[in-house]
């Protein structure tokens, strides 16, 4: 069932870019979205729901980072920091930690603006740096933020993090132990991200980003205030990460600093590179493929290897290498991603 879903989603993503007429495209999207909503009902196992929820959270993350990296061309290697900020916002405001039990929905709404604010604060120092230095500075921020969460033990629970986060409820009905509500929420976030990113790409601001990515000096000469445009990219990108962080923390029921390291940032970058930076449907596919790989395909492959070849391997040991191979191979052979981008 998972594979049917994955195949469907991939077909959907591929098709979207092939239909030039917006009307037709909208119909296709709706037609393909309905099964997305139904899949977890058809396959009611909690594992599937969990997997789908996680996958959707990663898709939302990748779509947010795509605004920064794919559209504006700013290689942000510390994107997980905003994910951490969203997650910790929920962890600190909706848990016994301070006895604050602010409703999930309030925090979900505030996480976007909060992360956007941090996006601008952390983005501001990088604005005048050349691309590779910018990457390293964002990486530095990405290392500092979880480290600070880890160090401020009195507020954040230190290395152990904060357990026992509030279980959200919807009009008095608790989410309970099911991942299903989180899946639908994450799906809504994905839909919002696709809507906003798609709109932005065909707008004044989106064009300014693409122009900056292609030739920053020429963009300035065209009258673009590159500082403002870049800050907007950081802010919008971060806000998706912040919302995803709230979902992630609430679903997991705990936050801890080791969930938001450099590996997470690179995982999301790998999703973009796999799908094609700047290419919305590609990014969706890239993030689905990688999440599926991690949580479904590798474990299955282990079993296959054990039953068919009688070899006992644990392929999940190779995660890092797989991301690494993706980054290298894609840059060498398919720098614009698995699905080639159409001209805009």
């Amino acid at each position: 069932m998972i594979y049917a879903y994955a195949a469907l989603a991939i077909v959907a993503a591929v098709l979207i870019d092939r239909f030039p007429s917006p009307r037709l495209r909208r119909i296709v999207i709706v037609a393909l979205a309905i099964p997305l909503l139904l899949v977890p009902l058809i396959d009611p196992s909690e594992a599937t729901r969990n997997l789908l929820a996680d996958a959707s959270i990663y898709v939302a993350l990748a779509l947010g980072l795509n605004i920064v990296v794919g559209f504006a061309g700013l290689l942000d290697l510390g994107y997980a920091a905003f994910f951490a900020i969203g997650a910790y916002a929920y962890g600190m405001l909706a848990s016994p930690q301070f006895g604050l039990h602010i409703p999930f929905w309030v925090i979900l709404l505030l996480a976007g603006p909060l992360a956007a604010l941090f996006g601008m604060i952390l983005g501001a120092p990088t604005l005048r740096l050349r691309g590779d230095y910018l990457a390293i500075v964002t990486l530095g921020f990405g290392e500092i933020v979880p480290q600070i969460f880890q160090n401020l033990t009195a507020y954040t629970g230190g290395p152990n993090g904060i357990p026992g986060l509030d279980v959200p409820s919807f009009f008095g009905k608790s989410f309970g132990a099911s991942a299903l509500p989180f899946y639908y929420l994450a799906l809504a976030l994905v839909a919002l991200a696709i809507f906003i990113a798609g709109n932005l790409r065909a707008s004044r601001l989106g064009r300014a980003w693409l122009a900056i990515r292609d030739d920053e000096l020429a963009a300035k000469h065209a009258g673009i205030d590159t500082t403002r445009a870049k800050l907007a990219a950081f802010a919008i990108g971060a806000s998706f990460s912040g919302c995803a962080g709230v979902l992630f923390a609430a679903k997991l029921g705990l936050v801890s600093p080791d969930l938001f390291g450099f590996q997470v940032s690179v995982l999301i970058v790998s999703m973009l590179v796999l799908g094609g930076m700047g290419n919305l449907s590609g990014v969706v596919i890239g993030s689905l493929v990688l999440t599926m790989l991690n949580s479904a395909i590798l474990p299955q492959a282990n079993m296959l290897a054990a039953t068919l070849l009688h070899v006992h391997v644990d392929l999940s040991q190779y995660h890092f290498a797989i991301y690494g191979v993706i980054l290298v191979a894609m840059m060498l052979w398919r720098p614009s991603g698995l699905i080639a981008r159409r001209a805009r």
Binding site: G73, L75, L77, P125, T126, R128, L129, R130, G131, D132, Y133, A135, I136, V137, L139, G140, F141, E143, I144, Q147, I148, Q150, N151, F262, V266, V269, V273, Q317, Y318, H319, F320, A321, Y323, G324, V325, I326, L327, V328, M331, L332, P335
Partner: protein
């Protein structure tokens, strides 16, 4: 006062290792303007190779006399050679094909290579820290403040830096490296083989990482597969702090970062060391991207 001396010694020794790694970053950035993200992992590889060599020599603890000298020399050369070859391989496979690609492309592959190496190292020796034999005996100098291992590491770094200065500024290869760094096409016109020069630069940078890996393995008597991630980042910070492309700057930056880390750990606490170093990285890049001693980069627009 005693505590201060001890931290000074710690900081300088740590800084010497950062300096050795930073030299590699600075050389590579100087010639191809690439942050060689995998450099830190080459350094880890060096410490693993050192362990292999020492084990092969049957060394399990302190060595003395001839055996000590032989062990140090063989481990240093072996590690330098292995890392140099690894660095050349990486350049050939992952960077050279992208030399004319957009600037961020080779940086992304460099991150990829780094992840592959880390995973390989983890599979090789497992995820836990591994012990390296305490090769160096432990007499102390300067009123007991510095251990022999610390003095050796510091001297090694300084001597290496001077050797590198000599190589870059006084030899034919150094002249070719500077020419290629300035303008690859012009260098090609006067008959310099840019590919060969760049490969040799990677060889040297890798060898320096190998030396650093050997030094840190023996000095800390421990290593693990992710060692190079933090050390690499801090060493890159050192290279930038000193002025990227600047050999003396890398050394100065290395010592500064080592001291900063040692004293932060001793005063506020070890968990703040990374925060302090990365704050310096960000501050330098934002306020003074040319570093303390200025860069040696050609001004390419």
């Amino acid at each position: 006062m005693h505590e201060f001396g001890a931290q000074l010694a710690n900081g300088l020794a740590l800084g010497a290792i950062y300096a050795l790694i930073a030299l590699g970053y600075t050389m590579v950035y100087g010639i191809v303007e690439l942050i060689n993200f995998a450099h830190g992992d080459v350094y880890t590889f060096g410490s693993f190779i050192t362990l292999v060599i020492l084990t092969a020599l049957g060394i399990t603890g302190e060595a003395h006399g001839v055996l000590l000298v032989v062990a140090v020399v063989v481990a240093l050369l072996g590690s330098a050679l292995a890392c140099g070859v690894l660095a050349i391989l990486i350049e050939r496979v992952a960077y050279r094909p992208l030399r004319n690609a957009p600037r961020l492309a080779p940086l992304i592959t460099a991150i990829g290579v780094s992840f592959i190496l880390e995973n390989a190292l983890q599979l090789w020796k497992g995820p836990a820290p591994i012990t390296v034999p305490a090769l160096i005996p432990n007499p102390r100098f300067l009123g007991g403040t510095f251990s022999l291992a610390q003095v050796s590491v510091i001297v090694l770094a300084v001597v290496t830096m001077f050797a590198l200065q000599f190589l870059v500024h006084r030899t034919r290869l150094g002249m070719q490296m500077r020419a290629v760094a300035q303008d690859r096409d012009a260098a090609a016109l006067v008959g310099i083989d840019a590919n060969r020069t760049i490969a040799l630069t990677f060889l040297i940078a890798g060898a320096l990482a190998g030396i650093a890996g050997m030094a840190s393995g023996v000095y800390y008597q421990s290593t693990w597969f992710l060692n190079g991630f933090g050390a690499g980042l801090k060493s890159f910070t050192a290279a930038v702090l000193g002025g990227i492309g600047n050999i003396a700057g890398a050394m100065l930056g290395g010592f500064c970062i080592g001291l900063l880390e040692a004293f932060t750990s001793a005063t506020i606490g070890g968990q703040w060391a990374n925060v302090a170093v990365f704050t310096v990285l960000i501050a330098v890049l934002v306020i003074r991207p040319n570093g303390l001693l200025g860069t040696n980069l050609p001004d390419k627009l």
